[in-house]
């Protein structure tokens, strides 16, 4: 069967921020935040109808400023955080806030899509993650699979752990850590590890990757010179607790075992410019998505370092029982680390890629010119992994 063609959606503004709606497990839904200095910024809620291959969009107004980072709550699908830049007294500061989507957006959208764009509804501000003391926020991270009560913000060289109280209307810093060192240190990216009972965090600053223990707020490991240039993004393998992927300006994607930080486990060099985003598939961690400013999105199949065993999960007895299946399996066996596909639908730098939270075979990528592309894992591979 032919693979479905990618679905392309264009935003009228430039955009960098993309997230899947983490708490939504039924509909395939992505949130995109725009960047515009002159106009009111928006959050586009993009619903993808898998059966009809159609995109439904709703627009929410985000008038606080241009959005640099967006992140959905894992517990409440209506709650999200953004990092936005605010200009005041000719000074630009990136702030962070927790928002709630107005409850009506969904129904209104479906009745008359055109109206909603003409008359967009506004997000409801729940609280600010006040960072005036700490400087610009690079990103906000929700506790993975948590109850939506804890977030971490990375501001300049500070790690701030917030407790959201009173249904997220009040945020207090429960603990913090500061990265000390020579020069102006600034976190560029971070990821909250879903393993170890959510007690670990990985951050990137310049060329180094650091691990933090959130209970003691102290550094537990540091991969100096993880990349030749700036590290742009990180992601934890959802199924293997010590494995971590990183990407950066040296065009490489590296895989680390944080217990052995001297050498990367694996290194990919497929992009021809900086790699801005790297994401593990939530269920099948051999699937890896990377987006780069060479305007390409690459889907790789990293079988050799995935949690799933090579090839198949068939028991030995079954194998001996069934000669045919063995034959078939042998045919399938050589699943090597490989690039599955390179997606070239973008014409500008791709700054964000995300897997859908609802459908593990679907992902979205966003380029600077506001183009959102939704793609699927090729069917052949999908069946091979599933069967």
């Amino acid at each position: 069967m032919e693979d479905d063609a990618p679905v392309i959606y264009g935003l009228e503004f430039q955009a960098r921020a993309l997230t899947a709606q983490t708490a939504e497990t039924d509909a395939i839904r992505f949130l995109v935040g725009t960047q515009s200095l002159k106009f009111d910024n928006q959050i586009h809620i993009i619903d993808f109808d898998d059966e009809n291959n159609v995109i439904n969009k709703s627009v929410l107004l985000h008038d606080a400023g241009e959005i640099w980072h967006i992140s959905g709550s894992p517990a409440d699908k209506a709650v999200l955080t953004t990092c936005y830049s605010k200009t005041s007294e000719s000074r630009v500061l990136t702030c962070a806030a927790v928002w709630r989507m107005p409850p009506e957006w969904e129904s209104g959208n479906h009745e008359s899509p055109d109206d909603s764009s003409n008359n967009p509804q506004t997000l409801e501000l729940l609280c600010h993650l006040d960072n005036t003391a700490h400087g610009s926020v690079a990103c906000v991270l929700w506790e993975p699979m948590g109850d939506g009560k804890r977030v971490i913000s990375l501001a300049e060289n500070h790690v701030l752990l917030w407790d959201l109280q009173e249904s997220s209307t009040k945020a207090t810093i429960s603990s913090s850590a500061t990265l000390e060192g020579k020069g102006q240190l600034k976190f560029t990216a971070g990821k909250w590890s879903p393993h170890h009972n959510n007690t670990q965090l990985a951050t990137a600053n310049d060329t180094a990757i650091r691990g933090w223990d959130l209970r003691s707020m102290s550094q537990i490991y540091c991969i100096e010179n993880a990349h030749g240039q700036l590290v742009r993004d990180l992601d934890f393998n959802p199924n293997k607790q010590y494995y971590l992927a990183s990407c950066g300006d040296d065009c490489k994607v590296k895989f680390w075992d944080v217990r052995h930080i001297n050498e990367p486990v694996k290194c990919l060099e497929e992009h021809s410019h900086w790699v801005w985003s790297v994401r593990y598939n939530h269920s099948h961690d051999q699937l890896l998505l990377t987006g780069s400013s060479d305007s390409r999105v690459i889907l790789s199949n990293m079988v050799s370092i995935s949690s799933e065993p090579f090839g198949h999960l068939v028991d030995d007895d079954e194998l001996s029982d069934n000669e045919e299946s063995q034959q078939e399996d042998k045919g399938k066996e050589p699943l090597q680390d490989s690039i599955i596909a390179t997606y070239e639908e973008h014409e500008d730098s791709v700054y964000a890629v995300e897997w859908s939270a609802a459908d593990p075979w679907l992902f979205a990528s966003l380029s600077y010119d506001g183009r959102l592309v939704i793609n699927r894992v090729p069917r052949a591979l999908k069946y091979r992994i599933l069967l």
Binding site: G10, L11, R91, V92, N225, C251, S272, D294
Partner: protein
């Protein structure tokens, strides 16, 4: 008798007739029969037997005249008369003879009667003599038997005497060291003694003899053991011992163990020498390091160093010589004399049945093999110590000698495994040597590179200065330029390789004994030299070049970019010519016959090209990153919102242009210009103005009107019309323009990405405009397609405008004025710099 009596005038026929008549008379008719028959046929032949007077008379009457008849008649009468007289004479003569014969017979009758009487008398005498003789012999019979018996006793007694005297005799022989006599004497007596050993007296003698012979054997053994005696003595000794029933096996063992002790001493001498040299080796033999102060222009100073051999106590030739002269020659001697003694001896009697040669031969083989194994292990150790690669001829000569001497053994001992093992060692040594040469070459290559590195580090100023002057006219300082360095480097490597090939070639020289072994004819040339040395070295060059790319990549430019460039050119040169040259050279020198598959030239070339490509890509990356880093820092550290109105081009941009120019010069030294896309007629700095005025407004347009997704698609389609996808870190071609294009692409893309992360104030945007215009004025000339520069700069300004809080672009004319001023300042700086130089 008849012929004498016939008258001489009678014709032959008449005489014949007489003869035949006489013959008839005496019954002698065998001879002359044919003649008679021939004559008899004619009835007119008067002498023939068939003569018919009637026919004859008629014939005469018919044929002859009267006169003739008369004559004939008278002649006939005359003949008849003469015949008649002849007849008469004969009759008389014969009559006389009859008479005398009758007389004689009568006389004989009388004589025989007398003789008969005498004979009777004689027979009577003889009978009496026989009778007497019988009587005498009867009397003598008894005495004769007695005498025979006595003489038997006599011989027995003599034998007994010999036996009784034997011990004394043997003793005497022993004293006189006449061993051979003793042994032969004993041998004679042995059987008898053995036979009569049940009699006590003989038993005593036997025991005595035993003791003495034991003593004798002891002495012989002693003599044998001493071994100082000549070969002849020794062989005699062995022979005697063998005759004494000494077990041959034991003798062989003894002989060999005796020889072994001597050979052992030789080996120990060698070993001691080996130890000595090992001590001195570790002391002074380590490869000297290159002195850091050595002149970088001529790495030759360090070049020789890895090839300096450790000057050990004795060189290998001496060692092998000593081994040959002492050990091998004495081993040969031992083999020869052993064979003389035990194997080639004519076998007689009982000894032959014991099959000594076979046993002895087996022992000899074992003996030779064990000793040779020890010798070989020593030689191997010595060869392994030969790490310095300075003088291969020495080693080759040593090996040759070693091998040659072993041939002697092979001649002496045809079935021995020793020579083949020796050949094995030579082969091993050759292999070892190839490995050593390879590693020496590798060391040499690394050292050369270190030298180049130093040379590059030193004249950094000069290159920078030259490029700052804008055109790179003068790099004619004391320090060498890149092309010179490249040429010298590649020359050094090539020369070194050639000299190594020459050294290795010694192994296959005609006068070397082992050069005609199949290994040296085939495998050594193809697998050893070609693959193991030349191909490996080329591969090593590529490999190490690639390592420069990999190791330097993460740790950030530990390799100077110029070195990368140089190596890339080196690899490229290898690809184009050097590899095929080297391999052809090798194949010619070694007459390589490719029995086994060898690495083809194309594969090597491909590898070299790949390495060259990788190096050049890496060079582009490194240089691009250096410039990128400058641009990034300059964008990131500035507060673009609160900047002042631009008055000048930022210094960073000047640095970028300077660095780009110097890179241009650097690359231009090693790579060709390359092709540019045809310049449009208006390809001047003026073209740049297009984007800032007209195009920019078009690009801005969509963003001012909030639009449906359709419009954005349209925008990107328009966008697409203007540009193709640009691969930033893409492979470059082997020319200057392509390299520069790569570097500039990387730099400008970084610039773009950095700009997109910032927010600009009004003057921030204007500063970017000025900077980009300035870059445009310089950079277009470096790249293959100036539209690329236009596009990227355009994109930068657009992005800056997007990111601007108050986007009011600067007037194009003002930008131009500022940039012109900057350019003029550059020129005056350059002139100043030139005058300083």
């Amino acid at each position: 008798m008849s012929s004498a009596t016939t008258p001489p005038d009678s014709d032959p026929n008449g005489r014949r007739r007489i003869h035949s008549m006489l013959k008839l008379y005496y019954g002698l008719n065998e001879e002359g029969k044919a003649a008679d028959q021939a004559e008899s046929l004619d009835p007119c032949d008067i002498n023939g037997p068939h003569f018919d007077p009637e026919v004859y008379l008629n014939k005469l009457r018919k044929e002859c005249s009267l006169g003739e008849l008369m004559d004939h008649e008278s002649c006939m009468v005359k003949q008849i008369r003469s015949l008649d007289s002849d007849m008469q004479t004969l009759v008389y003569e014969n009559y006389n003879k009859f008479i005398s014969a009758t007389d004689t017979i009568r006389k004989m009758k009388n004589d025989f009667k007398k003789m008969e009487d005498e004979m009777d008398c004689l027979s009577a005498n003889m009978a009496s003599i026989t009778e007497f003789s019988a009587r005498i012999s009867g009397t003598l019979q008894d005495q004769h038997a007695q005498i025979t018996k006595l003489s038997g006793v006599h011989t027995l007694l003599r034998k007994l005497q010999f036996l009784f005297e034997l011990p004394a005799r043997l003793n005497k022989c022993l004293e006189l060291q006449a061993y051979a006599q003793a042994v032969s004497a004993h041998r004679r007596a042995r059987c008898v003694l053995q036979q009569y050993s049940h009699m006590p007296s003989f038993r005593g003698i036997q025991d005595d003899c035993h003791v003495i012979m034991e003593q004798l054997a002891q002495q012989l053994r002693q003599k044998f053991r001493d071994g100082g005696s000549s070969a002849k003595d020794l062989s005699e000794c062995v022979e005697l011992l063998l005759q004494l029933d000494e077990p041959a096996e034991e003798l062989c063992d003894k002989f060999l163990s005796h020889a072994q002790s001597r050979l052992e001493a030789d080996l120990q001498g060698l070993e001691a020498e080996l130890k000595d040299s090992a001590v001195t080796d570790t002391g002074g033999g380590s490869v000297q390091k290159t002195s850091p102060g050595s002149n970088p222009v001529s790495p030759s100073s360090s070049v020789i160093n890895p090839f300096l051999s450790p000057t050990a106590g004795t060189d290998i030739l001496e060692f092998i010589d000593r081994g040959c002269n002492e050990f091998v020659s004495s081993l040969c001697l031992v083999i020869a004399s052993y064979q003389e003694l035990f194997i080639n001896r004519p076998q007689e009697g009982e000894l032959a049945s014991k099959n000594i040669p076979e046993m002895a031969n087996g022992k000899l083989h074992v003996f030779v093999d064990t000793l040779a194994a020890r010798y070989f292990s020593l030689v191997e150790r010595r060869i392994q110590e030969e790490k310095g690669v300075s003088d291969n001829s020495l080693l080759v000569r040593a090996l040759d000698r070693f091998h040659r001497r072993l041939q002697a053994i092979s001649k002496l001992l045809p079935g021995s495994a020793v020579p083949s093992h020796g050949t094995e060692i030579v082969v091993q040594a050759a292999r070892q040597r190839i490995k050593q040469y390879l590693s020496a070459l590798q060391t040499f290559y690394h050292d050369s590179l270190t030298d180049v590195r130093q040379a590059l580090a030193a004249p950094r100023l000069a290159v920078g200065g030259a490029s700052a002057s804008g055109g790179g006219a003068s790099s004619k300082d004391a320090t060498p330029s890149l092309p010179e360095l490249l040429a010298s480097l590649s020359n050094f490597i090539l020369n070194q390789l050639k000299s190594v090939l020459a050294s290795v070639h010694l192994f296959t020289a005609k006068d070397i004994t082992f050069s005609n072994k199949p290994y040296f004819k085939g495998e050594f040339c193809s697998q050893g030299v070609r693959e193991g040395l030349v191909v490996s070295f080329i591969k090593f060059i590529c490999q190490s070049s690639r390592q420069y790319c990999e190791s330097a990549g993460d740790r950030g430019g530990s390799t100077p970019p110029a070195l990368l460039l140089l190596l890339s050119r080196l690899c490229l040169d290898y690809e184009t010519s050097t590899i095929s040259y080297i391999l052809t050279l090798t194949d010619e020198q070694f007459l390589v016959q490719h029995h086994t598959p060898v690495t083809p030239v194309t594969a090597l070339c491909a590898e070299a090209r790949e390495a060259a490509q990788k190096l050049l890509n890496h060079y582009v990356k490194v240089q691009g990153l250096i410039i990128s880093q400058m641009l990034r820092k300059s964008v990131e550290t500035r507060d673009w919102v609160n900047t002042i109105e631009p008055r000048n081009v930022r210094a960073v941009m000047k640095r970028v242009v300077e660095d780009t120019t110097s890179i241009d010069v650097q690359v231009g030294l090693l790579y060709e210009e390359g092709v540019r896309k045809a310049h449009s007629s208006d390809s001047s700095k003026r073209t740049f103005s297009v984007y800032s005025s007209s195009r920019q407004q078009i690009r801005y347009a969509p963003s001012y009107t909030p639009s449906a997704p359709m419009d954005t698609n349209l925008l990107s389609n328009i966008h697409k019309l203007f540009s193709e996808r640009i691969d930033i870190f893409s492979p470059v071609e082997f020319n200057k323009v392509s390299v520069l294009t790569g570097i500039i692409k990387i730099s400008l893309k970084t610039f773009l990405e950095c700009v997109r992360l910032r927010t600009f104030g009004r003057y921030g945007l204007q500063q970017i405009q000025v900077d980009c215009h300035y870059l445009q004025m310089y950079l277009w000339r470096f790249v293959s397609d100036e539209n690329l520069v236009h596009f990227l700069l355009d994109e930068i300004v657009c992005s800056a405008a997007h990111r601007c809080l108050d986007p009011s672009p600067m007037e194009q004319s003002v930008i131009e004025v500022i940039c012109e001023r900057a350019v003029r300042a550059d020129w005056s700086d350059a002139v100043k710099a030139n005058s300083v130089f």
